[in-house]
Amino acid sequence: MSLLRIHGLEARHGLLSAVRGIDLEIAEGERLALVGANGAGKTTLLRTLAGIHPVSAGQIVFDGVDITALSAHQRCAAGIALVPEGRRLFPAMTVEENLLVARSAGRGGSWQVDSVLEAFPQLKPKLKALASDLSGGQQQATAIGRALMTNPRLLLLDEVSLGLSPRAVQAVYDSLRTLLETRTTIILVEQDLQRTFDVADRIVCMLEGAIVAEGRAGEMSREQVMGYYFGNRPASTTRQVTTQ
């Protein structure tokens, strides 16, 4: 059952086309990874899905409802949550306040401050600390926790390992494991290909704003994906779907 359907999505930065002609379908409970070099349009795509970047053309259908015209906070209420690139915590608020402010009034769901702390125990001693006083790993944990507080059906993770030490990345992904057990639908943008292959069911490769290849994680090879990452184009212009 498809949770998210994107048709012909286009987005721009000023006059520059950042995302062009994206068609994508995601089933409920699926883990999709977006792979591509910087500038491929992955972050723009996530931001467009979340509603903080304008759509120039195309349609986004979430759970059968066309949400293209909805604003960001309405999409959050519908169940889409983005953990933005660079965390973007509210710096002058504590960890607890960052979590509480995201607490969804309307949507039902199981995520509370307590359950977030269970998933991210590294935050327990830091609950009353200001977000600006946290380490990178703690900030990332808070950012993910904050998104979870909105009880999302679709969680968008934008480069959660960015700028973190290997240990911090490990800690984040350990906590994500708990998340993965809840069968939340996830779209993940990740530079670390190993992590990508660990977490994702399906991998989609983007280049210059368009999808050039996709396939099940088990069936695509690392070399193939790395090739697309570095700008290799498939031999034909139709996108390659690895399905065997």
């Binding site: 933005p84 600006s132 998104a147």
Partner: protein, 299 residues
């Protein structure tokens, strides 16, 4: 002991300025907008209270029960029609649009009420001039004391709103990062509109006390705006408690200046404002640390 009395009067005057300025400070802290119509809106509130008092003989402080919600609604409309568009259009536009609004308000009031000065003092019995006299010839007027008390109460209220309530958290989040606030389900537009409404409620109260302590006319607004602005800047823009400090510094400066020269009242205020501005810009590091610590604790 005349200086001690002047100092006390200055502090009490500062209470009025803090009351006047807290709405301006609040709006700036939340939306980064300086509302040039702030003073004029206080005068609008004063005229509303005047009409209520004159027509139905209702004490101004009781009249506030009706006027505060009206001003809150006005604030909401102001945001949706003017401020929201202005903020989106860039940094210059809010200044221009609120300035235009001030001109429209001032002259509309003149059109409706004429040039006569009014006051709410006749409607508050003896509150306007009752006082206690302390040893040393220090006079504590009841109205000024009440003004200071209300100012502190409002500041405490705003502080609690921001620090403890869900709305307050949403306001702070939207103030710090409106885009990300949207991502976590905060309707930034509604939050800003609510903030403007809250600011206008304080403006209503300020208008009441302005009209009780002195006379006003349709063109009193700009002068009040300047006082409010000076109080905000002296105390540190964006800091609520800084506004109280700023108001008191301004009040004291003016009272002391009045003792020195007949024109000294206003001149001293402006000079102190400019001096503090200079001092803050050139000794930014030390002072900024203190104010940032204050601000992060409150924001």
């Amino acid at each position: 002991m005349i200086w001690a009395n002047q100092l006390i009067q200055g502090v009490l005057l500062g209470g009025y300025y803090a009351l006047l300025a807290c709405g301006l400070s609040f709006m700036f802290g939340v939306m980064r907008i300086i509302n040039l119509a702030h003073g004029s809106l206080a005068v609008v509130a004063a005229y509303l209270l005047y009409v209520v008092a004159e027509r139905w003989e209702i004490h101004p402080l009781i009249g506030l029960v009706a006027v505060v919600p009206v001003m809150a609604l006005f604030g909401w409309v102001l945001h949706r029609l003017v401020l929201e568009r202005s903020a989106r259009a860039g940094e210059l536009v809010p200044i221009l649009s609120t300035f235009g609004l001030a001109i429209v308000l001032d002259n509309s009031l003149f059109d409706r009420f004429g040039a006569d000065t009014r006051s709410l003092a006749p409607y508050i019995d003896t509150l306007g001039y009752d006082s206690w006299t302390l040893p040393g010839d220090i006079i504590l007027g009841k109205l000024p004391l009440l003004t200071l008390a209300v100012a502190v109460a409002l500041l405490v209220g705003l502080h609690l709103l921001l620090a403890r309530t869900a709305l307050g958290r949403r306001i702070r989040a939207a103030a710090q990062d409106p885009d990300t606030a949207q991502l976590v389900g905060i309707n930034a537009r509604a939050v800003y509109a609510a903030s403007t409404a809250i600011a206008m409620m304080t403006v209503a109260v300020a208008g009441a006390f302005m009209a009780m302590r002195a006379t006003f006319d349709p063109y009193t607004g700009p002068q009040q705006l300047i006082f409010a602005f000076e109080a905000v800047v002296i105390g540190g823009a964006g800091s609520l408690w800084g506004t109280l400090v700023g108001g008191i510094v301004l009040g004291v400066a003016q009272s002391v200046g009045a003792q020195i020269h007949p024109q000294g009242f206003l001149i001293a205020g402006h000079v102190v404002f400019l001096v503090v501005l200079l001092a803050r810009l050139y000794f930014a590091h030390g002072i900024r640390h203190v104010f940032r610590a204050l601000r992060t604790r409150l924001a």
